[in-house]
């Protein structure tokens, strides 16, 4: 009898212990650290230079929660990246977690090379859809399955521009009233552009990504109420009247106000990014540049004087076409980069679990992704992180940044997006060299549609 009671008591305790143990931590702090086993995972990523120490700190923070998982921060050089990724996934022993662009994520998902994380997410008990902005997490879904979580934002790359207030003053423009429409942008550029024997001496606005004409076009298209594809991603829509109008506007803008495409390319060449001290915007040679949200971190590092004085620089939303009643400022999300961290299929279950544990920490934890991005002065795909008041102290234009994230629209892409990008770039360039906008867009649309049709028929 006594033994039975003891046994019942023990059984009761065993059954009730889950209820009696401390509740699981809220939100993302509760990954199951791969069951507590000792695991080592290789994390192949491209966060080099100034970001490497930040990532090392994130890993250290992760190890306080999961000390049993050793994360090897395999930072790679950007050169040769595509070949490295291709050989890595062809291997029998791929890295355990790979940083991939959205096109790569989709391609690998399509080929069945990476693991959907739906079951991991469920087991962990978090709800990505309430943690991330909808477009951010939506970008990491392929064919109905979630494959990874985003870091940094896929959005915030096209909706903003940085401007030099000093140049506005010099041209007699109001530095606190930056252009909001295409037409205002034209007027401002005309006022601030100066030419010389070598081409452009001072440029009012650089409306292009000189080496990525297809993205340049798409970003402007969305400010003219245009679309790249239909919402289901099956039909090409960029050769619509809005598309033609956008392309014609771009070509005219560059020819009228900046002496042509070649002049702009030459002007921007040599110091093409914000990490070099002689980037024209920092030297009162370029007034308006369309940037992504990493710009703030670069500005802080490269020209701290300018960064510290909000009277020297400003931020505004991408202008829209005032002649089109439906047009408004918009940004495009998920066309370029849109990094995710994918788990190759070809590995043992323990490392997959460990890789997921780290992924969840990296993407959602306050001292994971949020910390990583805050240190770079850029917003996070996690909604809650962006409300951190420290951001407002660091960046005087933080509310504009958040506003731009809200006007981001996600594009539905397919694994063949890489090819379509190049097709579109060629078409846009031809228009700059004098071809008729409608003709080139129609031709590109035909080629792109063929690729899309082929893809959808095979999947």
């Amino acid at each position: 009898m006594k033994e039975k009671l003891v046994f019942l008591g023990l059984a009761l305790i065993v059954m009730l212990s889950p209820v009696m143990s401390p509740p699981a931590r809220a939100q993302a702090q509760g990954p199951d650290c791969a069951g507590g086993q000792e695991v080592t995972i290789t994390f192949m990523n491209w966060w080099g230079a100034t970001r490497e120490p930040l990532m090392n700190q994130v890993i250290a923070n992760f190890n306080e929660i999961c000390p049993n998982i050793t994360v090897v921060n395999a930072v790679q050089s950007w050169d040769g990246r595509e070949q490295l990724v291709a050989t890595a996934v062809a291997s029998n022993e791929p890295p355990n977690l790979i940083m991939t662009s959205r096109t790569e994520t989709y391609q690998f998902a399509y080929q069945g090379l990476i693991e959907p994380i739906g079951s991991f997410v469920e087991a962990s008990g978090i709800d990505p859809w309430s943690i991330f902005y909808e477009s951010e997490i939506g970008n990491q879904v392929f064919d109905g399955e979630l494959y990874t979580m985003p870091l940094p934002t896929a959005g915030g790359i096209s909706g903003l521009y940085l401007y030099n207030k000093e140049m506005f003053r010099q041209a007699g423009l109001d530095p606190d009233d930056p252009p909001e429409t295409w037409q205002e942008l034209e007027a401002a550029t005309a006022a601030m552009t100066e030419l010389d024997a070598f081409g452009i001496a001072k440029l009012g606005a650089n409306i292009l990504l000189v080496n990525d004409l297809s993205s340049s076009f798409v970003y402007w298209l969305y400010t003219n109420d245009g679309q790249l594809y239909s919402d289901d991603g099956r039909t090409v829509l960029f050769n619509s009247p809005q598309g033609v109008e956008t392309l014609e506007w771009m070509v005219n803008f560059v020819n009228e106000y900046s002496d042509g495409l070649e002049a702009v390319r030459d002007f921007m060449a040599g110091a093409p990014d914000l990490t070099t001290a002689d980037f024209p915007l920092f030297n009162e040679l370029l007034a308006i540049e369309f940037v992504n949200v990493s710009a703030f971190g670069h500005l802080e590092n490269t020209d701290p004087e300018m960064w510290a004085d909000p009277e020297m620089w400003g931020v505004a939303l991408r202008p829209y076409n005032a002649d089109n009643p439906n047009a408004k400022s918009a940004g495009v999300s998920g066309l370029a980069f849109s990094w995710g961290y994918t788990i190759p299929v070809n590995q043992p279950q323990e490392t997959k679990d460990a890789a997921y544990a780290f992924l969840e920490f990296l993407a959602t934890a306050v001292d994971g992704g949020c910390y990583f991005l805050f240190e770079q002065g850029r917003p996070s795909p996690v909604m809650a992180c962006n409300e951190d008041p420290a951001y407002y102290d660091a960046n005087p234009y933080w509310d504009v940044v958040l506003e731009s994230l809200e006007i981001d629209v996600s594009v539905s892409i397919t694994p063949v997006q890489g090819q379509i990008n190049d097709i579109l770039s060629r078409a846009v360039e031809e228009a700059f060299y004098g071809a008729d906008a409608q003709t080139v867009l129609d031709r590109a649309a035909e080629e792109a549609q063929a690729l899309l049709d082929e893809f959808w028929s095979e999947s």
Binding site: W47, T50, Q76, A271, D273, A277
Partner: protein
Amino acid sequence: MNMIENRRIRLLRQTTIYLTLIAGSLVVFFPLVWTISTSLKTPEQVTVREVQLIPDPVAWENYVDIFDLVPVWRFLKNTLVIASASVFGGLVTCSLAGYAFARILFPGQRVLFFILLATMMLPYVVQLIPIFVIFDRLGWVGTFRPLTVPRLLGHNAFYIFLYRQFFRGLPSELFDAARIDGCTEVGLWWRIAMPNSKPVAAAVGIFAFQFAWTDFLSPLIYLGSKQEMWTIALGLNGLKGFEGMGSTLPMMMVMSIFMIVPMLVIFAFGQKYMVQGVTVSGLKG
């Protein structure tokens, strides 16, 4: 011939040669000067558009700080391992093969030589994946073996071809005489062919070292995940961030100097062998 006129012509010739060489040297030397100059700058001084050769102030500390950023000695050591295999392969295995193609008659020699030439024509960019797959299935990814073993086996058609051309140009009499004296083929290679081909061997040694020292793609895909095994070429490129390189450019130039100096030393040493041979009678095909 008038002795004085002769001397004058020679002086004129010498002077023109000197002047041309010096003028060319300035052009050729400039990139090195730029590299050194950039390596002594701080990131704010980096102006990619203009040229400012003397930094002000000079950032000597870059050459000390680099050791905190990058495990330079380890990378140099790793690269030395690969370079040694490359040089050994170039000087020994390739040379033996070149000698056989030049001086030993064996059935199928012509066909095999043609295959040798054909292997030079295989575009390497796409060969990358199949070769990687082979090494991957062998389990050699993440080791030095994909970089050393082929070299040790003499897998370089260019060097073999080069040796073959030179060895064929050596006078047959040299070999026949030694052969009649009972010399083995290996002996012929070691005692006749090689000593008379110091310039070629020096050239191959220089090439082999240079290639191993600067090769980036193969170390990247075979050693990528294991930073402790990186070569300096990888270390150099690893400093490049993916959103622009302005901030790390000076350090990248410091690494460039570390790469350049050993190669200059090897070359300076090797070119001493490019002196007129005595018993050689000319290159014949």
